[in-house]
């Protein structure tokens, strides 16, 4: 009996404790989705699709770092297209929670899923993502808090649909980091770029023969923009953002 058929044994009340990975698909994200839930497969498929598109590396591993011994985690590693900054998204997937939820999720109507916080909390528990960038000076990955910005959990979309978009969008936004920084809501990204771009210039990772003066000027403007409120000083903010846009256009 293979794992998939084991998982399909709905009558087995303890099946959701299973933490084995599907060895037939061990090189893909679906190796950690042995649950036969199409929604989950779609999430993994779209992450893998985006990874191929942006030349990201996906590393699947398992470990005891997180909530339960059964937690699986995977890394998605890629570089900013222009900046060449190294990014790492660590996905932590708790199959135990997924299996527990899907055991009876079909008994809850779609509307109820969006309305009830406790369902949302449960759904949220099956996935967690850490977003980091590689700090050359510290020689370590540094957390990059993106959660407060732009992409919150929107259960109206349907949780899995939302999660799929969220992580794929994050990959996309970080890959196009310099361009993404022109969006008003991307304050944390700008803050990180202001620090990371000068570092990465020194390891000659950036293309287009950019001078340090250009990098310093961009970094300075990011810092300057952070001091202005998008709400209270709208026109000043827009004007400074446009200056950054022109500078980026000239540099790249």
């Amino acid at each position: 009996m293979n794992l998939r058929s084991m998982n399909s044994m709905r009558g087995d009340s303890s099946f959701w404790w299973n933490d084995s990975i599907n060895i037939c698909e061990k090189e893909s994200l679906n190796s950690i989705n042995y649950s036969n839930y199409n929604e989950l497969k779609e999430v993994f498929d779209s992450i893998e699709h985006k990874a191929r598109e942006i030349d990201a590396e996906i590393i699947i591993t398992k470990g005891k770092r997180y909530k339960s011994d059964m937690g699986k985690y995977f890394y998605i590693k890629f570089k900013g297209e222009k900046s060449k900054i190294s990014y790492r998204i660590t996905g932590i997937y708790e199959p135990l929670i997924t299996n527990l939820i899907y055991k009876r999720l079909n008994e809850i109507s779609a509307n109820e899923r969006t309305d009830k916080d406790d369902v949302g909390i449960m759904l949220d528990g099956q996935f967690q993502f850490d977003i980091e960038w590689f700090d050359i000076l510290e020689k370590n990955w540094r957390k990059f808090d993106h959660s407060g910005e732009h992409y919150g959990t929107d259960l109206d979309l349907g949780f899995m649909e939302c999660k799929k978009h969220w992580i794929v969008d994050i990959m996309d936004f970080l890959h196009k980091d310099v361009i993404s920084s022109l969006e008003p809501d991307m304050g944390k990204l700008r803050e990180m770029l202001a620090e990371a771009l000068p570092q990465y210039w020194f390891v000659n990772e950036q293309v287009d023969n950019i001078t340090f003066d250009d990098i310093a000027s961009l970094s300075e403007r990011y810092i300057d923009l952070a001091l202005i409120s998008n709400l209270r000083e709208k026109s000043k903010y827009t004007s400074k953002l446009n200056t950054i846009k022109k500078l980026i256009k000239k540099m790249y």
Partner: protein, 250 residues
């Protein structure tokens, strides 16, 4: 692959220092960073002037990624013992050296260069020796200046500020040094570490005056702060029996 292996192949990841000069501050020099080297020479010269002792240590907390050194010195009047712990990160110096010659340094680009690269090459902590607990206590002194100075230059400024601690504490921005002196002056009197036959009453008066100054909000009342500063200067002059010396720091 984890973070530790990123960029490992690059030569600038090396943590080595110049082993020929490992017992002196020259071991922290880098052949491609002239300004950095100048600032280290300046530290050495200043140390001689103020009778400070530079120790390049490899203690039990030794971390091969950074080189820990310390400057031990005393306040000129207060005789309080200070230690400036210096952490030098050769990897960052090597990274900096990789392309610094491509940069024509000016005030504008130096701000970013310093903020995100150079200032991290040498970091430092300042401590004073608290005789009550027989251990070093931290003093928070940060570099706020926007001027084009390398970390070594900042350390020289700190050495001078600590050497002239009693006057430096009158600077409105020297909050933590001021609060250190409020405590440390009476403590050091007890071990007879101060010169000039100072009475305890005078030390207590100076400590109280500094405390009063400490709680005067300079942003609220600049005049009041200046007035109090002037009074304390006069007090210092009396306590330490200064004449010409006073003018030097006025």
């Amino acid at each position: 692959m984890n973070g530790d292996t990123e960029y490992d192949n690059d030569y600038w990841m090396t943590h080595d220092v110049n082993i020929c000069d490992k017992q002196t501050i020259k071991s922290l020099m880098h052949p491609a960073l002239e300004e950095h080297n100048k600032s280290l020479t300046w530290i050495q010269e200043t140390a001689k002037e103020i009778n400070a002792n530079i120790v390049i240590s490899t203690n039990e907390y030794y971390d091969p990624k950074k080189h820990n050194s310390a400057i031990y010195m005393k306040g000129r009047k207060s005789n309080i013992s200070y230690k400036i712990e210096i952490n030098y990160h050769p990897r960052i110096a090597n990274l900096c050296a990789k392309r610094i010659d491509e940069i024509s340094i000016n005030e504008e680009n130096f701000r970013i260069l310093n903020k995100f690269i150079i200032s991290k090459m040498i970091t430092f902590n300042v401590r004073w020796y608290d005789l009550r607990i027989m251990d070093w206590s931290s003093i928070c002194i940060e570099n706020e200046s926007g001027i084009m100075s390398w970390p070594g230059d900042i350390i020289v400024s700190v050495m001078n500020a600590l050497y002239n601690d009693i006057y430096s504490a009158l600077d409105s921005k020297m909050n933590t040094l001021r609060s250190t002196l409020i405590e440390a002056l009476p403590v050091y009197w007890f071990v007879n570490k101060q010169f000039y036959n100072i009475s305890y009453n005078n030390i207590a008066l100076l400590s109280e005056s500094l405390e009063d100054l400490h709680y005067t909000d300079v942003s609220d009342s600049m005049d009041e702060f200046s007035q109090k500063t002037l009074t304390i200067r006069k007090l210092i002059k009396i306590i330490y029996q200064e004449d010409d010396e006073f003018k030097e720091y006025e």
